[in-house]
């Protein structure tokens, strides 16, 4: 009896996976015939990898559809029905911290920064800085939702700060900083936190699920960018101006 709801709509998911991957495959096929001309055994291996990826994508999308999206929405709606909306703010902080701290990509980023600063900035410092930065972002995003603060009021100062910091940070940190924006917005943030926010927005009178529910991911992406730019400034200061 649990099997039927678990695979509900799976045909649609398979269709979506095919729509997603076929164009890339055709492009590769054309490239292979015209330019690459890779050996046959190699191509067979690639195709096998793509098939595994397709299966993984189908399982992932289906799992998200039956588990994370409904859970996020239900919890969001339950919290709004319960009253005490401010609880969402510490809850957001906790979720933001835990997801970032557990994210393997954050450790890879920490390693990269440690390398670029020749060990001056420790890997653990990055992991904690990013986790706290993302925690603050998610809390801020929840506060925006609860008190109905327009997204522009947060986004404009945030992006302005990015541009200002850019001119003071160490050159080697620029690329890493912007790349790290993508690190924190992993599949969990996108699926669970976004559907939670949409659920909350749908539950509060006078909030629009699209205008108010969306926007959280942008704040999460901004946190690591700002943090790494600041770390780059600190590094440049201590290293001393050479140029």
């Amino acid at each position: 009896m649990i099997v039927a709801p678990l695979f509900e709509g799976i045909n649609q998911v398979f269709l979506e996976v095919a729509q997603a991957l076929l164009p890339l495959l055709i492009f590769f096929g054309v490239f292979q015939v015209l330019f690459l001309k890779l050996p046959r055994v190699y191509v067979i291996n690639l195709v096998r990898g793509i098939l595994v990826a397709a299966l993984g994508m189908a399982l992932f999308l289906q799992g998200v559809n039956v588990a994370f999206l409904p859970a996020g929405r239900a919890i969001g709606e339950a919290v709004t029905a319960y009253g005490h909306l401010w609880l969402l703010i510490p809850f957001g902080f906790l979720l933001g911290f835990l997801t970032t701290y557990a994210e393997p990509a954050v450790r890879v980023l920490g390693y990269q920064v440690a390398e670029s600063s020749s060990g001056y900035i420790k890997e653990s410092l990055i992991v904690y800085t990013l986790s706290i930065a993302v925690a603050i972002s998610v809390a801020l995003g929840m506060a925006r939702l609860v008190y109905g603060i327009p997204l522009l009021y947060i986004i404009i100062p945030g992006y302005l700060l990015v541009i200002v910091l850019l001119f003071f940070t160490d050159r080697d940190f620029v690329g890493i900083a912007f790349d790290s924006g993508g690190v924190a917005t992993g599949p969990m943030a996108v699926t669970f936190l976004l559907s939670l926010a949409v659920g909350v927005a749908a539950g509060i009178e006078g909030r629009n699920p699209v205008t108010d529910g969306f926007g959280l991911i942008a704040l999460i992406a901004l946190a690591p960018i700002l943090s790494v730019l600041v770390l780059g400034i600190l590094y440049r200061r201590t290293r001393g101006e050479e140029a």
């Binding site: 890339l24 990898g49 299966l55 799992g63 994370f68 557990a102 912007f178 790349d179």
Partner: protein, 231 residues
């Protein structure tokens, strides 16, 4: 391959465990969910974990080598037009294949009740990423400073933001973070290091960086432009 998948599963479990635990606590404590609902959630979470692990190992075995091969083949041909066309389409098609984008589109359909056409949104996002990643690859080839590119890009975002309709504004800024998902990050990084390593005098470590950040910036500008032009 099996060994690889097993390692991926462990890594994914570590990453998603805190969230799953919190959701279970909330489902039991706050929602008082029925055991069958809880079981459905746990089985669904298992599918997510296994799905991500399979996807990532498939990406490593199939899609990454393609990104690398195309990234090193393009500049080696010595034709600028080919580099531009190749990178543009490769970037565009990678976005179409990104699982995160599918989730964003689905969520948008539910939240807006179909008011914002998600199919065309995917195409806008894909074309913007294709465009900006091409600019990023040209940057690696000609070697102008990354900071100027980002300053200009975020400057454009600041100019467009006040004129973008509010519902598209929220979607636009989120589209950036959503784009850089399970597929895009590794494939775009491979493309960047592929291009950098072919060109003499470019270090794959420092010059390969920045492409993912650009890929996250592109859709913000693209969706905002659409919102400003067609309010």
């Amino acid at each position: 391959m099996l060994q690889e998948i097993r390692e991926e599963v462990l890594e994914v479990v570590r990453a998603v465990f805190p969230i799953i635990l919190i959701i279970v606590i909330l489902e039991v404590g706050v929602l008082r969910a029925a055991p069958s609902d809880l079981l459905l959630f746990l089985l669904g979470s298992g599918m997510v974990v296994l799905g991500i692990a399979l996807f990532l190992s498939g990406v490593k075995g199939g899609l990454l080598p393609i990104g690398d091969a195309i990234g090193s083949e393009l500049p080696a041909r010595g034709s600028l037009a080919l580099v531009i066309a190749g990178t543009f389409f490769f970037g565009l098609l990678t976005i179409i294949a990104e699982p995160n984008i599918r989730i964003l589109a689905g969520m948008l359909d539910t939240a807006s009740g179909g008011g914002i056409p998600s199919g065309s949104l995917i195409l806008v996002i894909a074309a913007s990423v294709g465009f900006i990643v091409t600019v990023g690859v040209l940057r690696i080839i000609y070697g102008f400073p990354l900071a100027y590119l980002f300053a200009a890009g975020y400057g454009i975002v600041l100019l467009l933001a006040p004129f973008t309709p509010p519902d598209l504004l929220a979607v636009a800024v989120d589209a950036g973070g959503v784009t850089t998902g399970l597929l895009v990050i590794p494939v775009i990084l491979a493309l960047g290091t592929g291009v950098s390593s072919v060109l003499a005098g470019r270090s794959p470590l420092t010059d390969g960086f920045g492409l993912v950040g650009l890929a996250a910036l592109g859709p913000v500008i693209g969706v905002m432009l659409v919102g400003v032009i067609y309010p």
